[in-house]
Symmetry: C2
Subunit: 68 residues, 2 copies
DNA sequence: ACTCAATGTAAAATATATATAACATTGAGT
DNA sequence: ACTCAATGTTATATATATTTTACATTGAGT
């Protein structure tokens, strides 16, 4: 399970190297959670996914991709 | 928490009254899970959300909406 | 070389999604 | 009226996401 890719690392880079901690703060999770999601250790809840996409101003499907 | 709306009921209707059980079968969860998601009792995992959207041939954000 | 911020990582605890089983209700079709 | 599929609903159990705490590593800047 969990074949969901994400572009979080790239998007943080493009957002001026936003740190994992800052992203976590802005969506209301810890930096460890961001790290785990970013590395694909598990996939976020739908709400966290929406919040992350919102931070980067992208539609959810540009941040997370589900490969069947 | 859980201010995520969804259009599952409508989409099931438009798909010829697809039952909760059939939708559950097609994405690999039980009918009770579909019922709970549909009623907003909790929001699905990102993977379930992608699978549901895929069944209806819609982008995820047309099936689930996050109201801040 | 030192410092410090950012990140990796992991164990234990908590929250939430989901499964399973069971029973009740509703509505359509006959 | 009967039947049966679909749905509502609830309790208990399991899986997974997330928190918290803690310690290690890496890299940039000085």
């Amino acid at each position: 399970m969990a074949r969901i890719a994400n572009q979080i690392r790239t998007l943080r880079f493009l957002a001026g190297e936003m740190t994992q901690a800052e992203l976590g703060d802005r969506i209301g999770v810890t930096r460890q959670t961001i790290a785990a999601i970013e590395q694909g250790k598990y996939s976020p809840t739908l709400e966290s996914a929406f919040r992350i996409a919102r931070v980067f101003g992208k539609p959810l499907e540009e941040v997370f991709q589900w490969e069947e």
